[in-house]
């Protein structure tokens, strides 16, 4: 029963993190929300008993992508323009 609850709650948190990452105007906050989304997706792979996929997702998504995005925010500007 507990695994069904986990299978419901963890994807809901993942989708919520993705939606929040889209709607943030501050790009640094959006990057942090994207890291949280990748982290929760890794947790979902882990619950589905695929630990090798989870380790690849954690290494690439939560570490490398966030690092590259923060370097690019540092090189450009932080706030997205309001239209």
């Amino acid at each position: 029963m507990m695994f069904e609850v986990l299978q419901i709650v963890v994807p809901i948190l993942t989708v919520a993190a993705a939606i929040v990452a889209v709607y943030f105007r501050d790009l640094l906050s959006a990057t942090i929300a994207l890291a949280a989304m990748s982290l929760l997706l890794s947790m979902e792979f882990y619950i589905l008993q695929a630990p090798d996929v989870a380790i690849a997702e954690a290494g690439v998504g939560a570490c490398l992508t966030t690092a590259i995005l923060i370097f690019s925010i540092k090189a450009t500007k932080r706030m997205e323009d309001e239209k």
């Binding site: 948190l13 993190a17 942090i32 890291a35 380790i55 954690a58 939560a62 690092a67």
Partner: protein, 86 residues
């Protein structure tokens, strides 16, 4: 014996939800990054808990590698907020 793991997983899941709320509504960047770091630690605890519940040692290895990798995001955001060269 399995009830112990179920109760622990429920507590960790509630904690992840609370830290996630702080990550969403946090007014400043340090609030959000502390929330993300808390979620990192709680996910590592959850992975080790699953490894103990399923009695599989490969899950513990995944948790170790993730604990080694997860500090990079927090460190880079801290370096960004500090300013200067990265």
């Amino acid at each position: 014996m399995i009830e112990v793991f179920i109760i622990s997983a429920a507590v960790i899941l509630i904690s992840i939800a609370l830290a996630f709320i702080r990550l969403i509504i946090g007014p400043t960047i340090p609030d959000r990054i502390v929330g993300l770091d808390t979620i990192n630690t709680l996910v590592i605890v959850g992975m080790i808990l699953f490894g103990a519940a399923f009695k599989e040692s490969i899950y513990i290895d995944v948790a170790i590698v993730y604990a080694l990798l997860s500090f990079v995001t927090t460190m880079l955001v801290a370096k960004y907020l500090e300013g200067g060269r990265m």
